[in-house]
Amino acid sequence: MKAINKWPYFFALPFVLTYLAFHLYPTMYSLVLSFYEWNGIGDKAFVGLQNYVRLLTDDPLFFKSLYNTFVIMIMSIPATLLLGVTVAYLTFNAAKGRLLLQTVNFLPYITTPVAIGFIFSFMFDWQTGFVNEMFIRLGLLDEGVYWLQEPWSAKAVIALMIMWKHLGYFMIIYLAGMTAISQDIYEAAKIDGAGPLQLFAKITVPLLRNITVFLVVTSIISGLQLFDEPKLLYGGWSGSTQIGGPDNAALTVIWKFVDESFISNSNFGYSAAIAYLLFVIIILFSIVSYRLTAGKEESR
């Protein structure tokens, strides 16, 4: 009988142990915690499903945070996809400066979120912000718009932050996809008389479907976990510590989770229930978005 080769298991062991200790155990512990009431320090009290029941029946702020998260995602994801593929197409076909275009567009993606929060909070400040200043000088406004304190414009600014940050990443992924498309197809289409717009719409976009599926699914997963941008937009100033933006219009699910755990309250059990509900929502939406974007063949 052939002896079992133990070496592969041995070399995989550090990862497996680390995974068990720092990933699987906390994940399962959070699930257990969601059935308790606990402030993180005193004794835990078992409450069964009460945290979930309360969350779904008696916490309008949870639904508001979920609504805000979806609205911001709807505002940002399709626009970023469209802009990403367009910019990638233009960059891919640029005769000169391709590297420069790639670098410039990718820079926001590697900029620290704190800096992005500062930049946008200064830009959209209603009195001293560059945006209002520009509109007033152009004669388009008499008085500055209260961008960050209007519920809808607050969401729009957050969506803009996401688009600005992720455009470069989307562009790079689309560029990688475009490189993989055979030039023969383009040449054949050109011989058949296809123009640049037709090449883009009939060849590039359909052949990038897998890339789009990947970007949509990952954007929905990360979009549901949105936290950095709104938090930093409203916490970037030295003295400003507004939670959730104006009338909670910028409160996202993860911000609500953090607020319940560490800021307004110390309800670790309740926060764990929020995290698990979000986990279920992410799974559902990942499946739905995959089925919708992948087409019949892939989703079968």
Partner: protein, 459 residues
Amino acid sequence: MSFGKGKSRSSALLLFILFAMLLAGCGAGPAGSNTDSQPSPAGTDAGTAEGDGAKDPKQISATIKVWDWDEAFHETMIPEFNKLYPNIKVEYTVVSNTDYLQKLQSGIVSGSDIPDVIMGEVGYRGKLFDLDILDDLEGAPYNFQREQMLDYVVPLMTNSEDKLVGIEQQIAVAGLAYRRDLAKEYLGTDNPDEIEGMIKDWDAFTAKGIEIKEKSGGKVLMLPGLLDAYFVLNGQRGMEYIKGEDIDLTGKMKPTLDRLFDMRDKGIIGKLENGSPSWAASFASGDYLFYPSATWSPKWQVAANDKDGSGRWGLVAAPEGSFTLGGTSVSVYKDSKVKEAAWAYMNFCYLSDEGTKIAAEKFGFLPGVKSFYENNRELIDKGSEFDAFFGGQNLSKYFVEKVVPGVSGQPQTKYEAIVTQAFKTLYPLWTKDASIDANTAMSKYIDEVKSKARDANVK
């Protein structure tokens, strides 16, 4: 390939080491453990405000951990403290006040490093006091007595069970800082006593505001924003409106909202958000006459935001009484293994005659302990570093004589931060939309607090 016996042994050893490393990473030692602690003899009376009661300071040998955001303070105080307590090593870690409570909770849950001396900034103090992690300073080994502190700070230092779990780092009473140039132009004087007479109550303040607004053609207003006015009005009404799970928000806030909305509707308050870039810039631009100003504000707000404004500022008591603005309590972690040493340091820095004198001279800190004001009259008369910035006005003297007597401390509960946060969430909408009146705002305010304090009965 298969393992030989030797290989088998070495791989088992490696496996064991890996496990050991992992377990070591997961399981830190008991919270606050400190092996070099040698508690001082029982019955140490370090609790006396004079700080000279420890039987023999040199006998206490320990290392204490302090988390604070004020690095400069500890850099100055530790060497002075070590002259009296040479065997107590103080290790401070700079932790931002905005992350403080989160880091503390995470540390306690994970069993990692916990400070022996804990700071409680007013923004999260109620929550901190509610966590039941702080020692009662009126019990052993501290035996401190609340009567030693100024009366108004006692509610700020006690938890909902009336246990004294913190001492005030410095008094944070507040009045109104004003621009002398604007006061001269629109009020005809920059003398604080005369201005105080002109704005004795809020009706007079509002009337003057309307007058100034008209005179300046709407350019100069009384206060920069609703939150600034809220700090004054709300701080003047320190009361026990939260009892257990019952929050009488209307009783506490309705008079404040009525007054706020009246001033907003009469156009005497600006539209700036407290802490925003435009708010900071307004100190120098001279569009607003008054700013709430606590003992710490001359350095951190006025001088910081109006760098060329030396001599341009004055301080006056607010209409209808004083208020508190900000402030930090100092406590001992209840599972600390070095309580006597931690208390010795706290006692030296914030209560003892030697320490408070140094803090007052170096940093302008006015402590919360009564004895300081009995023993150090000359320090108060001497003035502080920022008096020149305020046109030579003796700020310490003004705070002690004019502001402290009328102030009331707000009792701290776990819901205090939620009430303040809810206001911060809503006031920009009330600034923007003048059609919202005080009644509508009150009902919105109650809903907002209810949504965060779900176990509470809010009315």
